[in-house]
Structure formats: structure tokens, C-alpha cells
């Protein structure tokens, strides 16, 4: 049986590389046009080509989002764009508009087409409709329970993809134009300004409708058992560190499940790792129960910034026998840190010595963006990272 796919977002070429190295089986990316994250960096055609070459060398895949709600003017260059990105080597399109599905099929009968969550597929008959349009996969609506997902899988012979982690929309995908009305930015053409996280005044308590984030780490086994084909992580605008941590952690969870090696202790550790990069509380939303007040926030944005990420390792100083890294957050000698690598290795250590770029010994790394060095016995693979575990002997949590 084929292993379930771990599908990661990638807002740019570096994120694509990092997330594939950290264990994603495939990435979804946006081109400069037609993508629902217009304000992510997104990919030029040359970058799409380079991303595809990189992914294919690792035997991994690249899916391109073409899931905006098209207005007339976007129709103009669509055909050329589809042909161009197929030539770049993408493995699938993620599409919501059935006209676009038809157009892609007319241009290329073999390329995979995945129906975007923007189409809000919530039932067997809708799934059948999209299967009949000659598509290969449906991304199910985030409003479905485990039972409903299983029923669709059992009844409709089409691959299914579900979201497992990240921010959730308050409204149903495609059924929200709050951003258009409140900020004049088109939600369904990639300009969403997240009005659902705004505060609204009433005569009594302020009204908010912001949702908690999705975290399905404890239910990956259930999703594998019911026959889901792909597990999708949200967040094309997320940082390298976030992607490395989230994708790296889900990679371990999936591999441990297939190796029959996931016990409670390990799962708790993985969940704790995920919580270190979370900036909101989490919920499983509709998966296990009807939604209720526990899935939302009631007092504004409720987001916390995370300062665990200490740096990206960018080289090795042979003379000093030290790792060279680009600092991202304040830390100091005495702090307990964890170095983690794309090849799933982790090293825990207490920082005993710290050097600046000119090899002067220092006590504190104060300035994000500085190049610093810490003694370490050998070099590590590209895109290894350092995170804080405990501040100078004191518990950080």
C-alpha cells in the first residue's frame, strides 16, 4: 500500500527546498498569477522550473495552485499560462473553477488535476461531479467529520486530500467576501485580508469570529486508516523554521505509524514540538464533533510571537570547529538548544561558547541577522536549524 502523502506549502523557492528536504512528499506553490495567496512571494516560471527539477531529483512532486475565482480579465492569458507551467514540469494543477478543469484537460489529457478546497466539496454527489470532470483528486472541505470523509472515500473512487495543520477560515471556502467589503481586497483572488480576525463592536461584548488553528497530529493514524491519500499543511506565507518544524514533525509521525513505532510518549513529544511553533491555540474543529464555542476566540487576534528559532545554519568553520549560523532571535551562553536537520537528526546541547563573525568570543547573540558561530564537532547538512529548548538553565515553558 502506498504511503500517505505529506503535502507542504511553499511560498518561494527556498521554502520549497527546505520543506522537501524536511520530509514533504510534495509541495503546492503559487505562480505569480491565478493563485489564492497573491501576497506570498510566489514563483516565476523559471523558479517553477527550478523547483520542479529540485523536487523530481528527490522523487517528489510539485503542484501548482490555479484556484482563484476568475474574472473576465483573467481569462485572457490563461491558456498560454497553463501550457507554460506544464512545460515547467509541474505534476498537478490545483483548480476550483470547472471551466479551468475543462480547459486544462483540453490542453493536456494526462496532467493531474486536483480540485481545490475552494470548491467546498462536502458530499458524495459533489465528489462524483468533480470525478466526472476527469479530475484526479479532490481536496475536501474543512467542515467535514471523520465519518463524512470516510463515506466519500468509500463511495467515490477518487483520491482525497485533507487539511491537517494550520490556520482555518471562519467561513466556508468560496463563500466569503468579507475582505472585499471591509478592505476592498478580493478574498477569492488572493487578496484576503483576514477580516474574520478583526474585532467588531456591539452594544455589549465585542464580537469576534476568529478560529483557533487546526492540528490533527493525534489523528493521522485515523486519516491513514480511512483511506485519505494526502495530508495538507496550510501556510504558503509561513517561515522556513515553521515549515521545517511542522513538516519535519509530521514526517516523523507518519513514518512512525507505518513502522508501527508511534507510542504515546513519542506522540506527546511531537505534539509539544508542534506547539512550540504555534502562535494560536489549536483544535480538530469539525473532525470529531460539531463545531462549538471552544473552536473560536472571543477577544481579538490572540496571536503570540514565537522566539524559539535561534538560527539557520549556513556553514562550518573548520579552523574554529564551529557551526556558522544566521541568528534569528536573542540567546546567550548557557542556553539549552536543539539542532535539528533535514535528515531527521537532532542534537541537544548547552551553549558553552559563542563567537561572532570575526571569531571574537561573546556571551550574547543580540541582533537578528548577525552571523555567529558555536563549537560543534562536525558540519551538518544544508538547512539545519537551531531552536531554543531552555533559557540558561531555567525552564522556558
Amino acid at each position: 500500500m502506498a504511503k500517505i502523502e505529506l503535502l507542504s506549502p511553499a511560498g518561494d523557492l527556498e521554502r520549497l527546498k527546505v520543506t522537501l528536504l524536511y520530509g514533504a512528499d510534495a509541495v503546492y506553490i503559487g505562480g505569480k498569477n491565478y493563485s489564492l495567496r497573491a501576497n506570498a512571494t510566489n514563483f516565476t516560471k523559471e523558479e517553477i522550473k527550478e523547483g520542479c527539477l529540485f523536487a523530481h531529483k528527490l522523487n517528489k512532486k510539485v503542484y501548482l495552485t490555479l484556484n482563484i475565482v476568475l474574472h473576465n480579465k483573467e481569462l485572457k492569458d490563461l491558456k498560454t499560462y497553463i501550457k507554460d507551467v506544464i512545460e515547467c514540469g509541474i505534476d498537478a494543477f490545483i483548480v476550483s473553477d470547472p471551466y479551468v478543469i475543462k480547459l486544462i484537460r483540453k490542453i493536456n489529457k494526462d496532467i493531474e488535476i486536483h480540485v481545490s478546497t475552494q470548491s467546498s466539496i462536502t458530499n458524495i454527489e459533489s465528489a462524483k461531479f468533480y470525478k466526472e470532470q476527469n479530475t484526479n483528486r479532490i481536496v475536501l472541505a474543512r467542515e467535514l467529520s471523520k465519518k463524512e470523509i470516510k463515506e466519500i472515500i468509500d463511495e467515490v473512487n477518487i483520491d482525497t486530500e485533507v487539511f491537517i495543520h494550520g490556520a482555518m477560515c471562519t467561513c466556508m471556502s468560496g463563500r466569503c467576501t468579507l475582505s472585499n467589503y471591509v478592505t476592498n481586497r478580493d478574498a477569492n483572488r488572493g487578496g484576503c485580508s483576514q477580516v474574520c480576525r478583526f474585532l467588531f463592536d456591539t452594544d455589549t461584548k465585542p464580537f469576534t469570529m476568529a478560529t483557533k488553528d487546526l492540528n490533527m497530529a493525534r489523528y493521522i493514524k485515523d486519516l491513514i486508516e480511512i483511506g485519505v491519500k494526502s495530508l495538507k499543511v496550510e501556510g504558503r506565507m509561513r517561515s522556513l523554521y515553521y515549515l521545517a518544524t511542522v513538516i519535519g514533525t509530521y514526517r516523523k509521525i507518519i513514518d512512525d505509524i507505518y513502522n508501527n513505532d508511534l507510542d504515546d510518549e513519542k506522540l506527546n513529544y511531537y505534539c509539544a514540538t508542534l506547539s512550540r511553533v504555534a502562535n494560536r491555540e489549536v483544535s480538530t474543529h469539525f473532525f470529531l464533533k460539531e463545531e462549538d464555542y471552544t473552536d473560536e476566540y472571543y477577544s481579538g487576534r490572540n496571536e503570540s510571537s514565537n522566539q524559539d528559532y535561534l538560527g539557520l545554519i549556513i556553514g562550518y568553520d573548520d579552523k574554529l570547529k564551529s557551526l556558522v549560523f544566521l541568528e534569528r532571535n536573542y540567546f546567550e551562553v548557557g542556553d539549552q538548544v536543539e539542532i535539528f536537520t533535514p535528515d531527521k537528526k537532532t542534537y541537544n546541547l548547552v551553549i558553552e561558547k559563542l563567537y561572532d563573525e570575526d571569531n571574537n568570543e561573546i556571551k550574547v547573540g543580540r541582533h537578528p541577522g548577525e552571523i555567529l558561530k558555536i563549537p560543534f564537532k562536525h558540519n551538518l547538512v544544508e538547512y539545519s536549524m537551531i531552536r531554543l529548548i531552555k533559557k540558561g538553565g531555567k525552564a522556558d515553558e
Binding site: 505569480k32 498569477n33 497573491a38 501576497n39 510566489n42 516565476t44 475565482v69 476568475l70 474574472h71 473576465n72 483573467e74 481569462l75 473553477d97 470547472p98 471551466y99 480547459l103 467546498s120 462536502t122 458530499n123 458524495i124 454527489e125 459533489s126 462524483k128 461531479f129 468533480y130 472541505a141 467542515e143 467535514l144 463515506e151 471562519t170 467561513c171 466556508m172 468560496g174 463563500r175 466569503c176 467576501t177 468579507l178 472585499n180 467589503y181 471591509v182 476592498n184 478580493d186 483572488r189 487578496g191 478583526f198 474585532l199 467588531f200 463592536d201 455589549t204 461584548k205 465585542p206 464580537f207 469570529m209 478560529t211 469539525f286 462549538d292 464555542y293 473552536d295 473560536e296 472571543y298
Partner: protein, 286 residues
Amino acid sequence: MRKIIIPTTKTLTDYLPYSKDFIMPLKDYAVDYKKDYTLEEILKLKNLSKDINIYLVMNKPIFNKDLKELTSILKEIDKYGFKGILFYDVSILNIHKKLNLKTDLIWNNTHMVTNYKTCDFYLNEGCKYGVLSNEITLEEIKEITKNTKMKLWLLMIGYPVMAFSRRHLLKNYTTFHKLKETKSLEVKEHTTHNLYNIFENNFGTSIKKQQILNATMIIDEVKIDGMIFKEEDINHECFLKVLDLYQKYENKKITKEELLTSVTNLIGSDSNFLFNETIYQVKKDG
């Protein structure tokens, strides 16, 4: 251009001097409307006069548990000679095709009826009509109507719905804050001070703009099949006066300028996105 009315009263008598075409939200199958009607109520109203045309709204999100009953009711509806069904979820289109039903389908994808090619797609799938999105410009409407054979409808007068959530946002809000349960709430956005109306039914929560869309200024600029007049939250007398003014314009008793001035005096002049294109790419293309 026909006037198609979305009523709020129990009887249609007041509206009949102005139109015989009605859109009626079907109870247990419609969202985004505060007033819905049971099938029995609609049948009674339909039988008031032979030339009353009723289009049913069945736009709620459909889940597996709904499919059996949905199939039955679609079959039942087909017997009664309703003029059409406004649908959102494509399960209705799929069942309609499979059962070879004869009631016309109206593609009512709320915010997604935004280009002529997708209109053509749904036309080829058997949808005779489409309801244009409220978030497109006049120029876009003109281009769509020029390039598709689908018969199109447009909201001319009424409060536009901005969003629908499967979540019970009001119930959750009142539960958390231990407030008295409510099905409708007016909220003011903190920064812009704009007002919005949030209302809820069994299937979720809708959010509506608190300004009436008045598209009267484009009446002679677009070639559409139907102009939708949605009464919800508009004073009944005021709504009838608007219909009456349109009637007078159609009968050439008043000029366009007189129509526009009088309607604006009654309901304001919010043209929504007709002359205001939304921004979506903040960064320049590379």
C-alpha cells in the same frame, strides 16, 4: 428585463401588481435568507394565480446525511411545475442530471459567478440561468452578458450577503459571553465603523452588509434577463414604492433620472462594487 422579487411576507398579493416572478427560499434548504417558506406554503402561494412563476432557493451546503432527502425533494419539486431551482452545491446539479428532472436550474454560486466562460460551462451542464455575483463591476457585467448565452440575473435592490459560515457564530458568541441567545446581531467594524448584520439559522451563519445595494443607475446599461429585488430588512411600504417606481419607468411614465432620484431618496445610493474594482495583488507581477 423581468423584475424578480424575493418577498418576506406570508402572501404575495402586495407584489403581484409589479411582478409575477418570485424567488422563494425553501425551508431546510436555504441559507443567507432570514425568511424562508415551507414547500406547502410555497405551493399555496403558487396556486394564487396560474401565471405566478416561482424559483426555489436551495443553496445550503449539502452533507452526505442530506442526500437521501435531497433526492426525494428534488423529485417532488419536479412534479409541481416550479420555474426553477437556485442551487449552490453541485450535488443538486448532479442529482438533477441523473434523474433527468425538468425543473430549470439557476447557477447561484453567490460570489463565483464572475466570468463568461464559467457561465458557458454551467449553461452546457444544463443551467439555463445564472445569478451574477454582487462583487463585480459594471464593465465586467457588460462583458459577461455580451459573451455568454446564459440568461443572467442581477441583484438590483437589496442588502448583499458577504459571507456564510458553517459555524454557529452567534450561538458560540452568546454561549461564551453568557449573553441572551440571539439569531441576529448588528456589529460595527472597529476601524472603519461600517455596520454589518450577522444572522444565523440551523445550517450556519450569514453576514450581510448593512447598506442597501441600489443598482438603479445601470438599468439601461446591462442586458440581463432578470433584475432581483430583495425585500429582506427593507421597510415593506418602502419596498413597494421602489417596485412602483420601476413599474412607472418601464411604462415610460417617469424618466431614468426621476427613477434614480426617487429610488435613491428611498433607499440610498450604495452602488457596491459596480464602479469599484477590488484589489488583490498588492505586489507587482514578476
